[in-house]
Symmetry: C2
Subunit: 250 residues, 2 copies
Amino acid sequence: MANSPTGDSVTDRLVRVLETFTPTRTVQTAAEIGRRTGLPSSTAHRIVGDLVEAGLLERDEDRGVRIGMRLWELATRSSHALRLRQATMPFMERVQARVQEHTQLAILEQDEALFLERLSGPRSGANITRVAGRLPLHASSSGLVLLAYADAELRDRVLAGRLVPLTRATLVDPSAVRRKLAEIRTLGHAMAPGYIEDVSTGVAVPIRDETGTVIAALSVVLPHGTPTEFALVELHRAARDTERALGYRR
Amino acid sequence: MANSPTGDSVTDRLVRVLETFTPTRTVQTAAEIGRRTGLPSSTAHRIVGDLVEAGLLERDEDRGVRIGMRLWELATRSSHALRLRQATMPFMERVQARVQEHTQLAILEQDEALFLERLSGPRSGANITRVAGRLPLHASSSGLVLLAYADAELRDRVLAGRLVPLTRATLVDPSAVRRKLAEIRTLGHAMAPGYIEDVSTGVAVPIRDETGTVIAALSVVLPHGTPTEFALVELHRAARDTERALGYRR
């Protein structure tokens, strides 16, 4: 529908506009959006104007625009993310209250771990994760769980790609990652000691649907060197309770 | 841009498609979407196809489509809703843990109370609120707080509109609502005993920015007849702590 001379649909251009917003770039002018999308300035201004009119973007006091509350509402209220998150929340809160460290829920999305939720207490340590943020599958404990139980095709694709090191501990050798994934399937959980940040260790367990397919990973981020047993027990309990709450397990 | 014969922009039609999804209607076929939007079937199919290709909608195993994870991610990661919610979460969790009833965060959006978050415990009672759901301003305790501190123009507009009763206790007489709002401004909190559901009482307090403008309402839903003092104290503490966390108060 309504394709441009270059053949991309209006929907594509709209997504390109939305993609210029990031967790650290929440307000932009239409001119900046034009530059970042590579769209002609007049096109960028027109799309921004339409999005503002529809309430998907909101104007600032200045000339800036930001993601509108209406877009958040439309995207959230009937999303699969919300259902999973709502089912998991009471049990994530229990983990957070007992372990007193960052507690996180992630799913597989476009070959990365997408974080649906993160709970943090006043005493929680360092943590790079953000809600609606992503981390590489080979480096984060959540990502490793999702990768360990993913289908072979996805696993091969990720391992054939570039495995970026985030610290000196991150596994970047495909065969080392393969051994790690086999270990995760045997143990039923993943440890990522210092893979993302030197100072912390991620610990993650899978959440499964009624067929046993892994649909999400539940994790905590502990200060490096902390014993992990207590957190693991709490994570496993929370995963089982979530599966029960979703009707996937009796 | 790319207007249809009836003059609505592609963005408008796209929003109309997204608006057909609701918390209880999370999967639809393109044909159903066409019927519900009133768009010609071929147009609806084309828009749905474009949205699926861009990842904003996802296809089901059957012929259904649902809101895509990508849309949730784009809408959430740089949203104002997320920042307010993240700042409030630790204090909402404290309220929920101590009061053991539904704890909620709402903002004013298009003359309604839009709920950004809801925390519930295993023992919490009845509650109609949903994340990304809405309630009328005159009926919910959150809505009454937002209305009490809203500008006069918005207040007049809402009071001039139809004040729908949800129970026999809901205030529907504009002058009764005006008296209620004055009372809320004097007390600094709102009570909504049985206004939304007979069995419950909402209690809400405002969250303010650095200029003193009310930007959100924090509330709990108690079983009707429960003493409200303890919940109110916890809500006020949580509101102050949120304002501090956001840098709005020292």
